[in-house]
Symmetry: C2
Subunit: 217 residues, 2 copies
């Protein structure tokens, strides 16, 4: 049996390896908020269990088995976020921390029912794709808002930071997954960016624009 803690390591390992080719102990340590020696020893354990390829001072990569376990956790997480938002009417800035807990429930029946009630959704309320029951994840190409140019029209599809604080901030600017916007201006001096969404015009700092992910339209 796979523990709560192990599921957490696996999920975060997967998330990191989707953004970077090869994950370091430091990166995982920061992401989990767990000190490096602890991560090192967990990775040794994972190597024995066959979840990762790992040798000292080298990068960590998920094996097929580790990836498939991780995808299941990610599926449970994203399915839960979708359920909390669409069925229970909980704000998208609140669902993340609840889903972090529910994702560790062991009950295929429970998650099967969720899936059914949601009519087998393909993306979660943050715009992220939900892995299938078979562990297939269709990753649509996405870019940082900060990498967009003046005149481009984009759709907000995700974020790099799921903290409640950040999501609440985005909400206050009218920015949620699915929202479309046009880049009106990029200030060369500080790379801050002006975007028009519907009837709102918002100025976002580079720090913010780095954390907002979009699809070009």
């Amino acid at each position: 049996m796979i523990t709560f803690t192990e599921e957490n390591y696996l999920k975060n390992l997967l998330l990191l390896s989707m953004e970077h080719e090869g994950v370091s102990v430091l990166m995982l340590s920061k992401k989990l908020g767990i000190k490096m020696p602890t991560v090192t020893s967990m990775m040794k354990k994972f190597a024995v269990k066959g979840f990762v390829n790992f040798s000292p001072y080298k990068q960590i990569t998920l094996t097929a088995s580790g990836k498939s376990e991780a995808l299941l956790v990610l599926r449970k997480h994203r399915l839960t976020e979708t359920f909390l938002t669409r069925v229970m009417g909980i704000g998208w800035e609140e669902v993340h921390s609840i889903a972090e807990q529910i994702e560790h429930i062991q009950s295929p029946l429970f998650f099967g029912k969720m899936d059914e009630m949601l009519h087998y959704p393909e993306t979660d309320p943050h715009g992220e794709p939900i892995p299938t029951k078979e562990g297939v994840l269709i990753q649509q190409p996405k870019m940082r808002l900060s990498a967009c140019r003046v005149g481009e029209t984009v759709r907000l599809t995700g974020v790099n930071d799921s903290s409640k604080e950040f999501l609440t901030f985005l909400n206050s600017k009218g920015l949620k997954p699915g929202v479309r916007g046009k880049i009106e201006h990029v200030e060369p001096y500080d790379s801050s960016l002006t975007i028009i969404c519907g009837d709102r015009k918002e100025v976002l700092s580079k720090t913010i624009a780095d954390k907002v992910l979009v699809e070009l339209m």
Copy 2:
């Protein structure tokens, strides 16, 4: 912060103390499936935390603080069972084991939404009362089916055993919370009992009738 494990001890302590005045280490040990020395040491810890009154070789009783924590866990459990049955359409024999996990989620918002969606239910699908947010539990008087006499009409309100096996067995006999029945016969030889529910007539052994709780009508 109260842990997953502690919540489990508290909830089961409450359940036992609702049936018996004063709970023994052995009883709690059996209920939790945890060996007696482990229970003893947890009770020492609980005494320090102020959750129980406990001195060696004496019965365990919950303090006001322990009881109120326990009632909150019980509330989460029963609210969840109701939600799983009524909103998600999961069979009442399946919900128990899922609720055992969800009851440990820390999110007033999540359980508040559940409560709202269910229109503030007073009983769970097993017929058990749900403690209020304020920690008040209205216990209706109930008796074992095995203690009923011929000719009495009863309503099934609960069970003594929430295992899936037992609940599935009851289901197969058409026995669910809310179902009414009339005692047709009690066999003196083995105390087995014949009950008429709607158009069905079922013979239940003493072992079964002991685990079925009813209200007289």
